[in-house]
């Protein structure tokens, strides 16, 4: 939760996650460089700097692929939620690995030029009018620049100052960075190394990332249909509502509604978290509060207010149970308005 720009807290879980992540990165780099050296044809060798360039380049690409899959995967399965909590850490580490890759490339391939190495990236290959001969390093530079902006503004300070809407729009730039990175690899590494492994990995990454985002994007636009004449939307039979979890209803107009079951009570709130617009209905009830799956912001079921000392408020909605079926009124109450929950077995 936020209070006076306080950042997302470092919990023991986050620390353990980061340690495992760093251990995995060290293992990948070691194995890649070792196998890369052993796999060279007889009589040929690879310089350690080139080996590190390849290892960090492939690792940054794989990590970015994983980071971009976390969001859609977490919508499809709760098992991926722990990665959602740590997505920003993985993103910042991905940028740092890409930075090492870029730094070594600049030193190794442009450091001996008469030109400034940064200028050399843009002018050493002037074939901007050719797609097959395009200076692919420029595409990598563009991706790195966008990733830098993402990493530099990843702190909650920027989210609080820019506002969740602007912050989310800015961070959608990572999709453009991914496109630039795929183009960087396709017009670069794929042209020099014809190994089907590289082509296969690149295609698998593109199919997975684009497919998951399109799939969840189209699914999230499905609406729950029009409300009846009294403004009530059907949610689901009570028997299908899992305790401490929610069903998400999308009216034809307005924001989605998260309808939660907590024991024998049914309550409804806006599905949009005040922090970064996270999907509250994909979270669960923890300690009596609705808890956002993205960063753990919490709201009370009965009035949509964050517990003290926090001050965030979200809209609440009236609910009712008719013949064992839950309904929600599509008209939101002002944020923070108390709303009596429906009682299963009493109001039905």
């Amino acid at each position: 939760m936020s209070h006076d720009y306080k950042a997302v807290q470092w919990t023991p879980f986050k620390k353990r996650f980061d340690l495992w992540l760093l251990a995995g990165i060290a293992l990948y780099l070691t194995v890649f460089i070792t196998i890369g050296g052993l796999a060279q044809p007889p009589g040929e060798s690879i310089h350690p700097v080139q080996a590190i360039i390849r290892a960090t380049g492939t690792l940054a690409f794989l990590l970015l692929t994983f980071v971009l899959c976390i969001g859609p995967l977490a919508r499809l399965s709760h098992r991926f939620k722990p990665f959602l909590y740590n997505r920003r850490h993985i993103g910042v580490i991905t940028f740092l690995i890409a930075l090492v890759h870029s730094g070594l490339v600049i030193m190794w391939y442009h450091g001996f030029s008469d030109l400034n190495p940064l200028v050399s990236i843009f002018v050493s290959n002037p074939r901007y009018d050719s797609l097959s001969g395009f200076p692919f390093e420029v595409l990598g530079f563009v991706a790195l620049l966008i990733m830098f902006l993402m990493a530099a503004t990843s702190h909650d300070f920027w989210n609080a100052n820019l506002g969740p809407g602007v912050w989310k729009t800015l961070h959608m730039g990572v999709y453009v960075a991914y496109t630039a990175l795929v183009s960087h690899v396709a017009l670069g590494a794929i042209q020099f190394n014809k190994s089907p492994v590289y082509v296969g990995l690149l295609a698998a990454s593109a199919v997975t990332v684009a497919g998951l985002h399109l799939l969840t994007g189209i699914a999230s636009r499905r609406t729950g249909g029009a409300a009846n004449a009294d403004g009530w939307l059907e949610v689901a039979p009570v028997s299908t509502m899992v305790d401490s979890r929610a069903k998400i209803v999308r009216p034809l107009k307005g924001e989605a509604i998260a309808v939660f079951r907590d024991g024998q009570q049914i309550s409804a709130v806006s599905n949009v978290c005040r922090h970064q617009g996270g999907p509250l209905g994909e979270g669960k009830i923890v300690d009596g509060c609705i808890t956002c799956p993205w960063h753990g912001f919490q709201y009370r079921m009965e009035d949509g207010q964050s517990p003290a000392p926090y001050t965030e408020k979200i809209a609440t909605y009236a609910t009712r149970i008719v013949d064992g079926v839950v309904f929600v009124n599509a008209e939101p109450n002002p944020p923070g308005t108390p709303q009596r929950p429906s009682q299963i077995g009493v109001d039905a």
């Binding site: 097959s132 729009t169 999709y175 496109t179 183009s183 396709a186 985002h213 924001e255 949009v272």
Partner: protein
């Protein structure tokens, strides 16, 4: 996510997906047969032959 953000997200992927796959297909179909030495000075290419 807010409805507007979800719409922008989907619209962005509807644009980027064909771009990504067009570049991928082009890159695979245009893989050079041999290393491209066009950036080397002509003298070096003649010397090596």
């Amino acid at each position: 996510m807010k409805r507007a953000h979800r719409t922008a997200h989907l619209a962005l992927w509807l644009i980027l997906t064909p771009v990504i796959f067009l570049i991928l297909i082009f890159a695979v179909l245009n893989q050079p047969e041999a290393p491209d030495n066009e950036t080397l000075p002509a003298v070096l290419i003649e010397d090596s032959s």
